[in-house]
């Protein structure tokens, strides 16, 4: 099924759910005002549902909005969910932020989402892009007086290459068909760059990776794992983390945030898509998730039953890594 057909399916599902009063709101994507940036959209009426769309640039994780709803809004919500988003919904249910009954999952298999920064780099940083359309395995990019076709698989987001779950793990209805389970990347390789380095080299590599960070916290705020009312980085009494651009403060923020996501991160890539500075935020969470897989044999959000290993204690927990 192509994007238009999926978008149509989403619209029809949303219209039906809203018209029948089964949900208060359908959380999906609509076309953004700039190319390559579809944006979250909250449809409250069947008419509004006509604005819903679907493309390879649906890069926000909509599970995020399930836990950031306006105060007092507790009715049932439908949400458009790719594989990773559905895993986050499962995670939120396990963490008691949400009940399964509260959410109607409109599942869509992810085609592998696209990275607008890669598209821009591929056509040239000085080029103005006025439109980008997917045509099968290609992306047609247009600007004033020029056109360029890019291979879709060359401009995918990094996390979509190593995705292990493109299909929604839970859904109330599925739009389109299921897809092949992976894009063929090896997820354990995300962590490899760190593992080759000795501790001092690692610190230098951390510093380099995050040197452009402006601490806007878009990575945190785009993340469905980050729902603390007051984040540790904002806490003033005591103040855990300095507020400056000094490397120590920037790294403290990123390292602690990554650890808070341990055993919970579905590698949805929303952090990297949100980052205005193009920072490879996943490099750190990727390493931690690899450790969780190896130590506990666990990957977050794949099923509703298993218990997140870092939220329980067992006498025989592995602890060889504690030195």
């Amino acid at each position: 099924m192509d994007n238009q057909a999926i978008a149509q399916g989403i619209r029809e599902a949303a219209q039906r759910l809203l018209a029948e009063g089964l949900v208060d709101c359908v959380l999906g994507y609509e076309a953004g005002t700039v190319p390559m940036r579809e944006r979250p959209f909250f449809a409250y009426t069947p008419e509004e549902a006509l604005r819903l769309t679907w493309s390879g640039f649906c890069c926000n994780n909509l599970a995020n909005f399930l836990i950031r709803r306006p105060q007092g809004e507790t009715g049932k919500v439908a949400v458009v969910a790719q594989g990773c988003v559905s895993r986050n919904i499962v995670g939120l249910i396990k963490e008691h932020q949400l009940s399964r009954e509260q959410v109607h999952v409109i599942g869509v298999a992810s085609p592998g989402m696209l990275d607008r920064d890669k598209v821009q780099a591929a056509v040239g940083a000085d080029k103005v892009i006025s439109a980008a359309h997917e045509e099968g395995d290609e992306l047609l990019v247009e600007g004033p007086g020029w056109q360029e076709r890019l291979e879709r698989k060359k401009v995918m987001r990094d996390n979509c290459y190593t995705c292990v779950q493109r299909n929604p793990v839970i859904h109330n209805e599925l739009i389109g068909e299921e897809s092949e389970p992976t894009h063929g990347g090896v997820i354990d390789k995300v962590a490899a760059p760190w593992e080759k380095l000795d501790p001092s080299e690692r610190l230098a590599a951390f510093g380099e990776n995050y040197q452009d960070c402006i601490r806007c916290y878009a990575c945190r705020d785009a993340c469905p794992l980050c729902y603390c009312h007051v984040c540790f980085v904002d806490e003033a009494k005591p103040q855990w983390c300095g507020k400056t651009q000094d490397e120590a403060d920037v790294l403290t923020y990123h390292l602690l945030r990554a650890f808070h996501c341990a055993g919970r991160c579905t590698d949805c890539g929303a952090c990297e898509s949100a980052c205005p500075q193009g920072i490879k935020v996943r490099r750190l969470t990727g390493k931690i998730e690899k450790d969780v897989r190896e130590f506990y044999g666990y990957a977050p959000g794949l099923d509703e039953e298993s218990v997140p290993p870092l939220s329980v204690h067992k006498p025989d927990d592995p602890q060889g890594f504690i030195k």
Binding site: G32, T33, V34, R37, E38, R39, P40, F41, F42, N60, N64, F65, R68, P70, Q71, D117, Q120, A121, A125, D126, V128, S130, I214, R215, C216, Y217, A218, R220, D221, A222, V230, D234, A236, G242, K243, T244, Q245, D246, S273, A274, P276, Q277, G278
Partner: protein, 342 residues
Amino acid sequence: MSDKILKKDQAASFLAELAQKRDLHAPALAGGRLVWAPLEPGQEPLWQFNNTALSPKEFFFPQTECMMRFTNAQDHEEGMVMHSEPELARERALVNMRPCDAKAFGVLDLIFCQDEMTDDPYWRDKREKSLIIALACNDPCPTCFCTSMNCGPHSEAGADVLLIDLGDKLLAKGVSDQGEAAIAALPAATDDDLAAAAEAKQMAEAAIITTVEMDQINERGLMELYEAGHWDRTQESCLNCGTCTFCCPTCHCFDIQDETQGPAGRRVRNWDYCMSYLFTLHGSGHNPRGSKKDRVRQRFMHKFKYIPVKRGGEIGCVGCGRCVQLCPVNIDVREVVRDMNA
């Protein structure tokens, strides 16, 4: 009278001359991203580029800036005495700044330096020691809407010199006394050059494809705008991150923090942002802008109503379009202004 001509192949030597007493900075490509970087004397700057990802406000208002130092010895009289940071050691020239960014600093001058009491010495020092050589935009981005914001692709406000690209040469307009002095030795422009520059300006302005109106916003009372119905929708998808404020050339909110390590301490200011819940949180736990809606509304009301009311009609936005491009959920300021003006 003050319009001069600078040939592009002579630009490097013209800038090298300036570099004798100033550090030079200009937009440059680094890892596929457009950033501000030091320009080595003799190096030719980029003439063709889009807006830098972040605004150059960092030059006058660094994201982290040490304001003063103290000795961390509280039982000693000296311990509490604050010593201001030294001033900027070397003057600088910011080359090829976009007119919208230059204009933004003109707006910020009105906020950092309001009167005798409110006269920020850190801002003022760096402003006074910087020569801004703006480069007019001949190829605006689709997200640019400067012409709706008291600005434009060839706007001169806030700059010392405005360069206009005429192909193999640049028309150099002296805007301030400092700017006129900097280009005094260049040859004068001909009438043909002036006509070409005027045409370039006209074409650039016509290339701005989006416009927004401000008439109703200006006319309406602020409570009417504040209580308008659209804010519930405007704020819906906002993540309350700081991207829009940090990339914005006119956002200027900051926090002041003390840091100590051993015997040394410093008072630093860091960029802060009105999207943060903590920004306005009282010690008592009360928060005057406790909801996301309050905070989103604050940002737009500040730019399009509060600043105009307070600063003689100046707008807290220059239409650079950075937030439109970078907002992770694509909250488009142009749509918000249209909703406010509807």
